[in-house]
Structures are given as C-alpha cells and as structure tokens.
C-alpha cells in the first residue's frame, strides 16, 4: 500500500516522466557523440574497428559514470524527504494512526523507492547501451551485470538517504547523503593511491569508506562489467597504480563484497525502522 503510494506520487508529480525525458535527451546527445567516433580519421584513414570499439568503451564508461552520479542524486532527492516530509506536513499522522506498524511504513516506502530506482536505472542504462550498440556496434562484455551493479548502487544510496529521512529534514539528509557519496568516491581513489604506493594506512582508508558506503565498490563492479578484456590487460600491465583511476577496475567485485552489500542494505533498512519506531510524528 505505502509502496504503491510512493509510485503513484512519482507518477502524479511527473517525476519519473521528467527524469526519463531528460535522460532520453542526454542519451540522444551521447548517441550523437558516439556516432562521431567512426568518422574520426588518422591521416585521412578511418580508425580500425578495434580502436573504434576501444574508444567507444572508454566513452561509455565516462558517460555511465556521469549517469551513476545523476542516478545517485535523483535517488537521494526522492528518498531524503520521503519520511521527513510526511512527518513535517502531517500526512504521516493520518496514515500512522491506522492499523499499520512503523516497520510496514518504512519498508513500504523502501519498496516503492527501490522500484523507482530499478525502473529508472534499468530503463535508462538499457536504452543507452542499446543506442551505443546501434551507433557503433559496440556491446560491453557484461551488459546485464553492469545494469545490476548500477541499480545496486542506486539502491544503496537511496536506502541510506531513507535512513537519514527518518530523523533529518529532506534538505539536511539529502546534503549529508550526497557528501558521503562523494567521500565514498574519493575514498575509492584514495584506496587506489594507497595500493599504488603500497601504503597500508591509506589503503585501509579506502577499504573503510568502501565498507561504510559501498557505492564506489559497486561502481567499480559496474565498470568492470563494461571493460573489454584488452583494456583490462592494459590496466594489469600498468600495475596497481591503475586502481586510483575511478574509470577503471582491474577485477570483478568478489562475491563476498556482493553479499556484504546485501547485508548492508538490510542492516541500514533495519536501522531506519528502528530509528522511525522511536520518532513521534
């Protein structure tokens, strides 16, 4: 019930529509950009097919990085006022006086938001991949895995913003979630630098940020799914220094990390229920 209200609100407020229209415009623009790659010439000779695909794979990673950022922002903006907004406006009074528990309310919100994130991220990423395939004939090695990772990244930041929303106003919670998202990203780079210089302390900082907010780890998993083998081989040759490059991943995320993310989402959601249980609207 609560989940459906979240979806209905997104539809009624034309939020999903606005996001999809804007995203389609961006996809059209990047599609045009991709279509220019095969027209690049070197001394009058077009680039060989392999190089076109390599370039396309690089552009795709950068484009998707931007997309993952837009997705995180959108997820935060939708999730952070979800509960606090209802409490501040008074809408929560009428709902919570019904025979419905706090857990049902919070989990319902989460399910609705998760569906929104999955629909938006899934549809937008699939279209972008389809457009790139149509324009330059390039398909990344693991498109489905990539979409799964990018959705997971959206779910993680959304869950975190929802937790903050049980206590903080939409604006404060949103800013905190975005700042932490940024710190997580920087933490990933810092950890990479630590690995490059073989500095255990700095590496641990990177690992810690990855565990506190696993968005960057998921992003690395998404990148890996986009990388052609040739590129991974080049990266491996470059040694551990390549780990600092946020547009590169040398290995797939281990299963333990994926399980950790599932546990992390469950724990943060449980914390959100606990936190909202003690809140008095």
């Amino acid at each position: 019930m609560i989940a459906r209200l979240v979806l209905r609100e997104a539809a009624r407020r034309r939020l999903l529509l606005a996001l999809l229209v804007l995203t389609l415009i961006v996809i059209a623009l990047t599609g045009w950009g991709f279509s220019r790659i095969p027209t690049i010439t070197q001394r009058g000779v077009p680039l060989p097919d392999l190089q076109v695909k390599l370039l396309a794979s690089q552009f795709l990673i950068v484009t998707m990085f931007m997309f993952s950022f837009v997705l995180a922002m959108a997820a935060v903006f939708i999730a952070s006022p979800q509960i606090s907004g209802d409490v501040e406006s008074g809408t929560a009074l009428a709902i919570l006086s019904r025979p419905i528990g706090r857990a049902e309310f919070v989990v319902g919100k989460w399910i609705g938001l998760a569906a929104l994130v999955a629909i938006y991220a899934g549809v937008a990423a699939a279209i972008e991949l389809g457009v790139v395939n149509a324009v330059v004939g390039y398909v990344p090695p693991e498109p489905a895995q990539f979409i799964a990772y990018i959705i997971a990244e959206g779910l993680v930041i959304m869950t975190f913003a929802l937790l903050l929303s049980t206590r903080l106003s939409g604006m404060v919670g949103g800013v905190i979630a975005l700042v932490l998202f940024g710190i997580g990203w920087i933490g990933g780079i810092v950890g990479g630098i630590g690995a490059a210089f073989d500095n255990a302390g700095i590496t641990h900082v990177g690992t810690a940020t990855k565990l506190i907010l696993p968005t960057d780890g998921l992003w690395r998993g998404a990148v890996y799914a986009l990388e052609p083998q040739a590129l991974v081989a080049t990266g491996v040759q470059a040694g551990p220094a390549a780990a600092a490059n946020p547009f590169y991943a040398s290995a797939a995320a281990p299963l333990s990390f994926e399980l950790y993310v599932v546990g992390w989402v469950a724990l943060v959601l449980a914390l959100a229920v606990y936190s909202f249980n003690a809140r008095e609207p």
Binding site: L5, A94, S97, P281
Partner: protein, 308 residues
Amino acid sequence: MGAAPVAIRTEELAKRYGKITALAGLTMSIPAGDVFGFLGPNGAGKTTAVKLLLGLARPSGGEGWVLGAPLSDRAAHQAARRAVGYLPELFRYQNWLSAREVLRAHCELIGLDRAVWDAEVKDALAIVGLAERADDRVGGYSKGMQQRLGLGVALLGRPALVLLDEPTSALDPVGRHDVREVIRALKDRGTTVFLNSHLLTEVEQVCDRVAIVDKGRVIQVGTLDELLTTHAVRVRAAGLDGAGLAAVRAFGEIQNEGEWTVVRGIATERVPDLVRAIVEAGGRVYAVEPRHESLEDRFLSLLEKPHA
C-alpha cells in the same frame, strides 16, 4: 474495566518532552457511545493526549486503553486501531491525489474489504459534502475542504471510536454546523466521539460529558449538568463596606462585575438569607437575579483558580 463497556480509559497517563511536561497524569474513563469533550486552553496537553491514545507518541508514564487494548501492547493496540477514526489537528492529505483516492487509500489502510470501498467512500463524501469535488486534486482544495476531507477519512469503516482534534478550526459557520450534525449522527449510531476543542460553544452543544484540562491535568470532569449546576446569583447593592462584603462572602465565592456582585455556589433557598445579610450589614439591595452560568464562565473560573 467496569461493567459498562468503556471506549477509552487512562490511568496517570503522562508525557514529558525533556523537562517540559506536556501531560502530567491523565486519569479518565469514557463509556462507549459517549460524546466526550476534551476542553482546555492552548498548550493544555489535549493534542498530546490524543497522540498518546493513537500510539503516535509513547507515554512517559501511566497506561491507557483504547477499545480495551493497552497502549503498552503495540500489536493489540495496532489491531484495535482498525475501529478508530482520527481527524488530526494538523490535517494534511496527499495533495497529488483526489479526495476519492485519499479515501480509497484509507479504506485499504484500515483493511476494509475491497467490495465495500465504493460504498464507504460514497457515504463519507456525502456526509462531509464533498461529493461534487470528489475527483479534484486535494492540492486545489481550500483549508476548509481539506478539513472536511479529514473528517470523511475519520468516518470510514464505521469506526467504534472517532477522535476529532479541533475539527472545526478551518470551517465557516455553516461548516461548523455541519460538523455538529455529523457528531450527532455518530452518536445516534452508537459511536464514541472524543472531541478535542477549545471552542466552548461547540462542546456545549454536542457533548454528553466534558473534561476540562489545564497544564496537562484534568481539573474537572463530569456531565455538562454536573459542571454547570453550581448556582450563582447577581446582586446589585449599594453601601457594601468591608464588613458587608465579608457577610456576603459567607454565602459563596464572590466576584465583582461593575455594579453587580456575583455570588457563586449559593443554593437557591439561601438567597433570601443573603439579601437579609446584606441589609443587616447596611447594604441597600436594588436587584437580585439568578445568574445562568455558561460553560465558558465555568471554564474561566476553573482556570483562574489555582489547582493542585
């Protein structure tokens, strides 16, 4: 619980926010089927009491029972809320939905059988007079219309208990009249109504019993007749000096109203004695008349008195 069914009972129910005491220890019992007025000035703890009864806030002390379910048993209380309707003081509904959709959403939240939704929604819309605007977005409603919608939401599913927190705050005189009619209809149906208000006339017109609360405590509770039986007379007399006033004071509490002196708490058969006492004290009596006390007078006099 007593022999007669009780809709709401509280024992020393208290709520503190840090050092601030919102409700100091509320003890009351409301029989099922009563229209109960909860009267008090702003900040007396009325809304806090309602929020505690609905499980929206947790008590800091004491206990309460709503339709037999204790507040401390969250599962039982949640189940009991199926039969409770609530119009919050801060009434806000999803403004991106239409009134009909808000009502349907609440039908689902209550857990009503889908087959009865249409009938329930139609009834609620008709009772609160929103049938013609039912499919407009709530965002375009005036405050009064939103409050009417809130009342409609509170009536869904034929609740056994309806809590109305300042239900006419946004309504014009016609709307207020309509709300009184709704409350009377609820009473006829056997529904218990808990009416939070600082509007005395409203309470006076519809309530069977009234509790007067101040500073988080019930300072008086009873039927309207019980609360208003305190007899009073107004006397217009000249030449009352200190000794004269002292003589009058022996008959009851006195209060000056310009030329008139009001004597409260005097039994009717003692009025001639009062007149004689004034005359004996050297006063000249021009007029004596019974003073009809309204709930407002009673309310003000109770609030003026220092109470423990």
